[in-house]
Amino acid sequence: MSKLLNGHIISASNLSKRVTSTEGTLDILSGVTLEIKTGESVAIVGVSGSGKSTLLGLLAGLDAPTAGEVVLAGERLNDLDEDGRARVRAGKVGFVFQSFQLLPGLTALENVMLPIELAGLPDPEAGARDLLARVGLGERLTHYPRQLSGGEQQRVAIARAFATHPAILFADEPTGNLDTVTGTRIIDLLFDLNQERQTTLVLVTHDEQLASRCARRVHLDAGRVVEVNP
C-alpha cells in the first residue's frame, strides 16, 4: 500500500469489457472510471445484467479488462499476469459471495483456516476459532456446510473473508440467497466487522437497503456508470 494514488486504494479508469460469442460481440462494461479511498464503503448497484459482477471481478483482479486500467493497492494490474494479480490479492483482499462458496468437504473451521494457511500466517486454527466465535458459530466448528443453514454458511464465509485481515473486502450480492431477516443480520455482521477492522468494502447488490448502508453508491446501467451518490 506504499504507492497509493492520492489515498485511493482502488482506482479504475476507462474500464471496458467486451466478450465475443457466436452471436457477435457484447460490451458488458464501457468506459467505467471509479476511485475508492482506503476505508471507504462503496455499493455497486444496478439491475441484473448491468455489469456489476463484471466490474467487481475487474476491480479485484480476477479478470483482465479489454481496455482501461485498474490500480489495486498501489499495483497497476494491467502490467501483471494472472499470477501477478494473485500476488496482489494475497493477504490484501477478501471475498464474500452470493453462493457462499464454502468447500463442502471441509468443516466450518477448516474453511476459515484455508486462506490463513495459504497466506502462511501463524496459528491458523486459533485465528479461525476466534473469528467463528465472533460471527456466533463457536459451537459449530466441526460442522460441514451441508449441516448449516444458509445464514450460517454466509457467516462462515464472512469469517473466512476477514481471516487474513484484508485491506479490501469484495462482496458479491452477499444477501442474495438469504431471507430478509437473515440478510439484515448478515449485513449487520459485515458492517460491524468492517468497522472493527477498518476494511475498505466494495459490494455489489441490487438490494437498496443494503446499498444505503454504504458511504457511496455507484449505479450501473448497461455497463456504464450513470450516477454516483453521494
Binding site: 467487481l56 494473485a86 490484501k92 483482499v93 451441508r146 487474513t164
Partner: protein, 830 residues
C-alpha cells in the same frame, strides 16, 4: 513451497475424510494390485513351472558334447556354487548268457540327477517311487524293455563290455529322457566309476559326454553367459526350455498371456485412474478458484496438488502391493498341490515394479487432469460456469502415451512390439471414437421405435455426446480387454487339450519287422488299442543339396550345427499326409507322383535353405539316394505321433531294409497288455511315455489355473473402469435427478430412464468392443500365440449383450442414490 506442500497434504487428509479420494485410490489399488499379483505370480509360478521343466530335463543347464568337457568349465561352475553331475552316454550290448540286446548306457556320478529324480521299482511292473542316489558300483538299474529282452529278474547278472553287473532296480522314469523319444535302445544306468572296467569306450567310439548343472536362476543365467562363448561347435547347451517342446511352448505362451494380461490390466486401470482423476479435478475447480481468488499463484496450486498425487501414489501403491501379495498367496494356496516342492516366497521385485507402475500410471493418467486445476480462472468464484481451459491435447495424450509406452516396453521387452501396439492403439482409438460417434448418431434414429425409458436413455446419451463417446470408448475398451483375455484363455486351453487329448499316444513301438506289421495291427485291433498308422523307417544321412555337399551348401551357422546333419535321420515314405502335418508349399503326393520325390519339414527346410524342387542326396548304409523336393510340410512335433523330417513318395525306399514304428494309447486297465505285446513281438522295442505325459499334463493343468487367475485381475480392472466411469457422471446425475424429481418425475421413471441409458451405453460399447476384439484377436492370435483364428460370431452376440446387462446393472446399482437422496439435500449442496 514446503509450506504449500504441507497444506496440500492437510487438504488431502480432509479430502480423504470427505470420501473424495476413494475412487482414485480404489483404481490405483486395483492397478497396482493387478500388476503386483501378476508379477508375484509370474515370479513364483513360472519359476515353479520352470523348475518342473528342469526336473524333466534333470538339470537347469546341460552341456552335451562328443568330447569330455573342459575341467575348467566344471571348476568355474562349482566355484559359482552350482551343483554338478556328470554323465557319459554310449551304446553297448548287454549280454546275459546267449541273449544280446543293444542298450543305451548312461554312467552317472554321485549327484545325478541335479534336478528331479529317477523313479525306480524293486521288480518289473512293481510300484515305483523317486529314488535318490545312483547305482552302487557293480550294479545297474535297467528299463523294463531290457528285462524283457534278456528275460531278466532283479539280482541277475549282465555283462557290458568286459565288466559284469548285478541288476539292482527297474528304471521307470528318468529325467532328460523325454526330449529324446527316439533314443531307441533300452536304458542301462550305471555308476560313472564302473565305465573304465567295461573298456567299451575306445578312441573313435560314439560317446556323449553330459555335464548337468543346477542352482539359483541368476547364477545359472550368469554361468550360461560365461560358458556359451567358450563352447566349440560340437558342444550343445540345453536348458529346461529346450528339453521339452510341449512344455516350452506352453510356458512361452503363458508368459505372453501373462504379459498381455497384466498390460491390459494396467492400461484398464489407467483409464479408471484417468476418469477418477478427472472427477477429482472437476470437484476441485471451486477450491482452486477460491484459492486463486485468495491470492494463490499457479505454482502454489501445483505445489498443493503434486504432493497429494505423490502421497496417493504411495498409499495406493502400498495397498495395491498388499492386495497383490494377498492375491498371490490365495492362489498359491489353491495351487500348491500342483507344485513339486515348496516354492520360495516371492521377492521384492514384483512389489517394486508394482509401485513404479503405480506412479507411472498416476503420472501418465492423473497428472494432466490434476494439473488442469492450476488453470482454473479465479473469476469462477463469481461465474461458476467458467471451467479451466482444457489442458493441451499434447499434454494429456502425450503423458498417457508416454506412460503406456514405458510400461509396454517394460512388459514386452520389445521395441517393435511396443511401437506397433502403441501406433495401432492410437489409430484404433481415433477410429473407434469415430465409430462410437456414429453408433451414437445411429442410436438416435432408433428413438422413434422404442419405449419412453429407452427414448429418454438414448436422448441423454446424445445430449452429452462428448462425454458419451468417452464413456463408450472406456466401457468398450474394458469389455474388449475382458473379451479378448477370455477368448485367448479359452482357445489356449482348448489348444492344449487338443494337443494332448485323452487318447494321446503314450507308448511308441519301434523295430517292428515288416513281417510283423499285419500281426501287430491285428494285435491292436483285437484288444481295442488305439494306434497310429505304422510308418516304415530307414536310417540315412543327408549329404548334399543340389549336388553341393551340405557342409558347404548350408551357409547359416545354426543350419550347419543342426542335429539333422550330424546324425542319421529317420526316413519314411507315405501315401497319405499324416493327420497332424500340413503342406506349407508345393503339393502332397498323388497316385501319379513317381518315386524319388520327398516332402521336407518346414523348419529344417528353412534352416538348411531347402526349397521346393531342390535335389537332395542321402547316404544310406553306403548307398546313395537322390530325391527331389515336392513339398514343404509343417509338423506338430509335440503331438506324440510318429513324425519325420523327410517323407518320401511311395516306392522311393523300396530297395532299402525298413523297420516300422507306431505310437499307441494304453489306458491304465490296458497296461498289463504291454507285457503280452513285448512277449509276442520280442524284436519290438517299446517306449513308455505315460509318466512323461502325466507330467506334461500336470504342468498344463497348472498353466490353466494360472491363466484363469490372471483373468480375474483384468476383470477387476475392467470393473474399476466401469465404477470410475459411473462415478464420473454422478454429480451431474444427482443434480439432474434432483431437478427432475422436483419437477415431478417419479422415482420409477427416473430409474428406468437411467437403466435404459446405461443399457444403451453398454450395448453400444459392446458392439464397439466386439469389432475391436475381432480385429485385435486376429493379430494377437497370429503374432503372439501362434493360434489359428476363426471368426467368432458368438463375440458379436455375447459381448454387446453382456455389455448391456453388466453396464445396465452397474448403472442401476451405481446411481441408486441419485433417486434415493432427497432432491432438497442435493440441490442445497450444489
Amino acid at each position: 513451497m514446503i509450506r504449500r506442500a504441507r497444506l496440500g497434504l492437510r487438504l488431502l487428509a480432509r479430502d480423504w475424510r470427505a470420501g473424495e479420494l476413494h475412487i482414485l485410490i480404489a483404481a490405483l489399488v486395483i492397478a497396482v494390485g493387478a500388476v503386483t499379483a501378476v508379477g508375484f505370480f509370474n515370479e513364483r509360478v513360472s519359476r515353479g513351472m520352470a523348475q518342473q521343466s528342469a526336473d524333466m530335463l534333470g538339470a537347469d543347464l546341460l552341456v552335451l558334447g562328443s568330447q569330455p568337457a573342459d575341467p575348467a568349465w566344471v571348476g568355474e561352475a562349482v566355484a559359482r556354487g552350482l551343483r554338478h553331475a556328470e554323465g557319459i552316454e554310449f551304446a553297448s550290448v548287454a549280454v546275459r548268457g546267449e541273449a544280446l540286446q543293444l542298450a543305451s548306457v548312461r554312467a552317472v556320478t554321485d549327484r545325478y540327477p541335479v534336478r528331479g529324480a529317477v523313479r525306480t521299482a524293486e521288480r518289473l511292473y512293481g510300484e515305483d517311487a523317486p529314488t535318490p542316489g545312483v547305482p552302487a558300483r557293480g550294479t545297474v538299474w535297467v528299463e523294463p524293455r531290457l528285462m524283457h529282452a534278456l528275460a531278466l529278474a532283479i539280482g541277475d547278472r549282465i555283462e557290458i563290455g568286459e565288466a559284469q553287473f548285478v541288476v539292482a532296480r527297474v528304471v521307470t522314469y528318468e529325467p532328460g529322457r523325454s526330449g529324446n523319444f527316439f533314443a531307441l535302445a533300452p536304458r542301462v544306468l550305471m555308476n560313472r566309476d564302473d565305465v573304465d572296467a567295461t573298456r567299451v569306450i575306445q578312441p573313435g567310439s560314439r560317446v556323449t559326454y553330459g555335464n548337468a548343472f543346477a542352482g539359483p536362476e541368476p547364477v545359472i543365467a550368469a554361468y550360461r553367459a560365461w560358458i556359451a562363448p567358450r563352447l566349440a561347435a560340437h558342444f550343445q547347451l540345453i536348458d529346461a526350455r529346450d528339453g521339452n517342446r510341449t512344455i516350452a511352448r506352453a510356458l512361452e505362451r503363458v508368459e505372453r498371456y501373462i504379459g498381455l494380461t497384466s498390460l491390459l490390466a494396467v492400461v484398464l486401470a489407467g483409464v479408471a485412474i484417468a476418469m477418477a482423476a478427472r472427477r477429482y479435478s472437476a470437484r476441485h475447480y471451486d477450491m482452486s478458484a477460491l484459492l486463486r481468488s485468495f491470492g494463490a499463484s499457479q505454482r502454489d496450486i501445483v505445489w498443493l496438488y503434486a504432493p497429494q498425487l505423490l502421497v496417493l501414489g504411495l498409499v495406493g501403491g502400498l495397498l495395491g502391493c498388499a492386495l497383490g501379495w494377498a492375491g498371490q498367496w490365495a492362489i498359491y494356496g489353491l495351487m500348491h498341490d500342483f507344485f513339486p516342492v515348496r516354492l520360495p516366497a516371492p521377492g521384492a521385485r514384483a512389489a517394486i515394479v508394482g509401485l513404479i507402475t503405480g506412479f507411472v500410471t498416476l503420472a501418465g493418467f492423473a497428472l494432466p487432469p490434476v494439473l488442469r486445476l492450476k488453470r482454473v480462472p479465479p473469476l469462477r468464484v463469481l461465474r461458476r460456469e467458467l471451467v479451466p481451459l482444457p489442458a493441451s491435447a499434447w499434454l494429456v495424450y502425450g503423458a498417457a502415451a508416454t506412460a503406456i509406452l514405458a510400461l509396454l516396453w517394460y512388459y514386452t521387452g520389445s521395441a517393435r512390439l511396443t511401437a506397433s501396439v502403441l501406433l495401432g492403439g492410437l489409430a484404433g482409438a481415433v477410429a473407434l471414437g469415430a465409430v462410437a460417434l456414429f453408433l451414437l448418431y445411429a442410436s438416435r434414429r432408433l428413438r422413434g421405435h422404442v419405449g419412453v425409458a429407452w427414448r429418454f436413455g438414448f436422448n441423454n446419451l446424445w445430449r452429452r455426446a462428448q462425454a458419451s463417446v468417452g464413456q463408450i470408448l472406456a466401457f468398450g475398451f474394458a469389455l474388449m480387454a475382458m473379451a479378448l483375455i477370455a477368448l485367448v484363455r479359452t482357445d489356449l486351453l482348448s489348444s492344449w487339450q487338443q494337443q494332448l487329448p485323452a487318447d494321446t499316444p503314450n507308448h511308441f513301438a519301434f523295430n517292428i519287422l515288416s513281417d510283423d506289421v499285419a500281426r501287430i495291427e491285428r494285435f491292436f485291433a483285437d484288444r481295442s488299442i488305439r494306434s497310429q498308422a505304422l510308418y516304415p523307417m530307414v536310417r540315412g544321412r543327408l549329404t548334399a543339396i543340389d549336388g553341393v555337399a551340405v557342409t558347404q551348401a548350408v551357409t547359416k551357422e545354426e543350419g550347419r550345427n543342426d542335429e539333422a546333419l550330424r546324425r542319421e535321420l529317420n526316413l519314411t515314405w507315405a501315401a497319405e499326409l499324416p493327420s497332424d502335418n500340413k503342406i506349407v508349399s508345393g503339393a502332397w503326393f498323388t497316385r501319379q507322383t513317381p518315386a524319388g520325390m520327398v516332402s521336407v519339414e518346414e523348419k529344417l527346410a528353412k534352416k538348411l535353405g531347402i526349397g521346393e524342387g531342390a535335389r537332395l542326396t542321402f547316404s544310406m548304409g553306403g548307398a546313395t539316394l537322390e530325391a527331389r523336393v515336392a513339398s514343404i510340410r509343417s509338423v506338430q512335433w509335440d503331438s506324440f505321433h510318429p513324425n519325420f523330417y523327410m517323407i518320401f513318395s511311395p516306392g522311393t525306399l523300396d530297395d532299402y531294409a525298413a523297420t516300422y514304428l507306431t505310437s499307441f494309447h494304453l489306458t491304465p486297465a490296458q497296461k498289463p497288455q504291454l507285457t503280452e505285446l513285448v512277449r509276442s513281438f520280442p524284436a519290438v522295442t517299446v517306449l513308455e511315455l505315460d509318466l512323461v505325459l502325466k507330467q506334461v499334463r500336470t504342468i498344463l493343468a497348472q498353466v490353466t489355473l494360472a491363466v484363469e487367475f490372471v483373468l480375474v485381475f483384468v476383470l477387476a480392472a475392467g470393473l474399476a473402469v466401469l465404477y470410475a466411469a459411473l462415478q464420473a457422471s454422478l454429480d451431474e446425475r444427482y443434480y439432474e435427478g434432483a431437478l427432475m424429481r422436483a419437477l415431478g418425475a417419479s422415482r420409477r421413471q427416473l430409474r428406468s430412464a437411467q437403466v435404459a441409458e446405461f443399457a444403451a451405453l453398454g450395448l453400444l460399447a459392446g458392439l464397439l468392443a466386439a469389432g475391436a476384439t475381432e480385429a485385435i484377436a486376429y493379430l494377437v492370435y497370429a503374432r503372439l500365440f501362434e493360434l489359428e483364428y476363426h471368426f467368432k460370431w458368438l463375440v458379436w452376440l455375447i459381448v454387446p449383450l453382456a455389455g448391456m446387462l453388466l453396464i445396465g446393472f452397474a448403472g442401476y446399482v451405481g446411481t441408486r442414490r441419485v433417486v434415493s437422496r432427497s432432491p432438497l439435500s442435493v440441490l442445497r449442496e450444489l
